[in-house]
């Protein structure tokens, strides 16, 4: 049986009359690369915040690896709210890379990566530094260790944010629109980095507008609309599926702008 990295069970979140999350269920097994696609305002951001329990849902459970986050559900069906400390302990098992990155500008690149390790994972400073160096090296920004976030480029900042999250050894990495805040010429670089991660077996959920990524790199596509996961499955199947009108309409529009979108192989042949 494959292990589960992240599971959402019946997540519901209401804002007045509207439901930002409407009975969201999914299970992401280890090693899977999922892209989350949907029109803006469909509830993607709320979902990410809810998965981290930064915005507790009105109902539902989040499970990271074999642990619940926020609320426990015992085998007997008893529900128990976790203490703040318990939540803090489980949260880093989800590695989050924000769209705005949210690096800490008063700390050096290395400190950005070591501080959570020391404070949260209680690692010794030298261990944290070794880990940080290894990660920064792997992400090819080891030479920037002593710089401040304000002194490095957008693409480099993103690598720091990734290293910061990876240093906590998460079960899964969440990326919130990793390409949308970048200069256009950097998009390709980030996508190939993500592809590298995917090839390396990293479990990822990527909220993205880069449909080429959703189609070519991810092994699964979840389509969200009005707080619901309305389509979920193999990217090519979802893209060409006509079962759900909203999904079909969305990808029809994409197809209209990029005529080769649904059938990339044709383009290659030409």
């Amino acid at each position: 049986m494959t292990q589960t990295a992240l599971e959402a069970i019946n997540l519901i979140r209401r804002f007045g009359e509207t439901r930002a999350l409407d009975e969201v269920y999914f299970t992401i097994p280890k090693g899977q690369v999922v892209s989350l696609v949907g029109p803006s305002g469909c509830g993607k951001s709320t979902l990410l915040r809810t998965l981290l329990w930064l915005e507790p849902p009105d109902d539902g459970f989040v499970k990271v690896g074999d642990r619940y986050l926020g609320k426990d559900l015992s085998p007997e069906g008893l529900v128990r709210r976790q203490s703040g400390r318990e939540i803090d302990r489980i949260r880093p098992r989800i590695g989050m890379v924000y769209q705005s990155l949210n690096l800490w500008p008063h700390l050096t690149v290395e400190q950005n990566v070591t501080r959570p390790q020391i404070r949260v994972a209680r690692r010794r400073p030298e261990d944290a530094r070794d880990k940080a160096q290894a990660l920064l090296d792997r992400l090819q920004i080891a030479q920037l260790s002593d710089r401040y976030p304000g002194e490095i480029s957008g693409g480099q900042k993103q690598r720091v944010a990734i290293a910061r999250a990876l240093a906590m050894d998460p079960e899964i990495m969440l990326f919130d629109e990793p390409t949308s805040a970048l200069d256009p010429e950097l998009v390709g670089e980030v996508l190939s980095l993500l592809r590298e991660f995917a090839d390396g077996g990293m479990t990822m959920m990527v909220v993205t507008h880069e449909l080429a990524f959703a189609r070519d790199v991810a092994s699964r596509l979840m389509f969200m609309d009005h707080g619901r996961i309305v389509a979920d499955g193999d990217p090519n199947t979802v893209i060409s599926s006509r079962k759900n009108a909203r999904v079909a309409e969305f990808f029809d529009r994409v197809q209209a702008f990029h005529p080769d979108f649904r059938n990339p192989h044709q383009r290659r042949q030409r």
Partner: protein, 237 residues
Amino acid sequence: MLDPTVITENLPLFLEGALMTLRVTAIAFVVGMTIGGIASVAILSSIAPLRWLAAAYVAVMRGTPFIVLLFLIHYGLPAMGVRLPALVNGTVALSLFAGAYYTEIIRACVKALPKGQWESARAIGMSPVAAARDIIIPQILGPMVPPVVNCTMTMIKESSVLSTITVAELTFAGLVVQGETFAPFEVFITVALIYWAITAAFAFGAALFERRLAGANRNRLMTPLVARYLLLDGGRT
């Protein structure tokens, strides 16, 4: 026309008063900052009653003249059976008053940070205390300096009101000397000049401190410059 002996003969009295002014303001600074730290956490918290309480405290302190607050405490505490020296009452009043302004400053500086700073710290598993200590506080210390300096200078000036409840600070010294010499112009000009010197020195020192703080962290945007303070940017309360 000016009689310099009025000043020279009573100089020790003036200086003693000035020392008391500094002492009272220093205590009000420490206590007020503590209050400010606590009240700003309350104001930024998600617990509504705490927020209201802190907001009400700030609104009352800001909406009422300091002299009235001072009298409320100076006459109110004995009415409740708490009899303390005027100096203590005055220091308590000034601390409470300063605390409200420090609360506003801290709140504004925290609010000015991008929301993601707090959130990213919490999302990676930092406790609220760790997130505040490691991520928020280091980032607001720099921006806090100019408004805190302004506010503290205002408190130096406001402390002159303590003379009305006979706290022997600089203004009170002036009133005493003027009662003995009947030379109000000389006396109050002297007192004013001493205040001016204190606030100028304070502003100058703060500007140097801010510059050093900026030097320690090149990365942070600072707007120091001694020149700005030479014109004494006294805050308004």
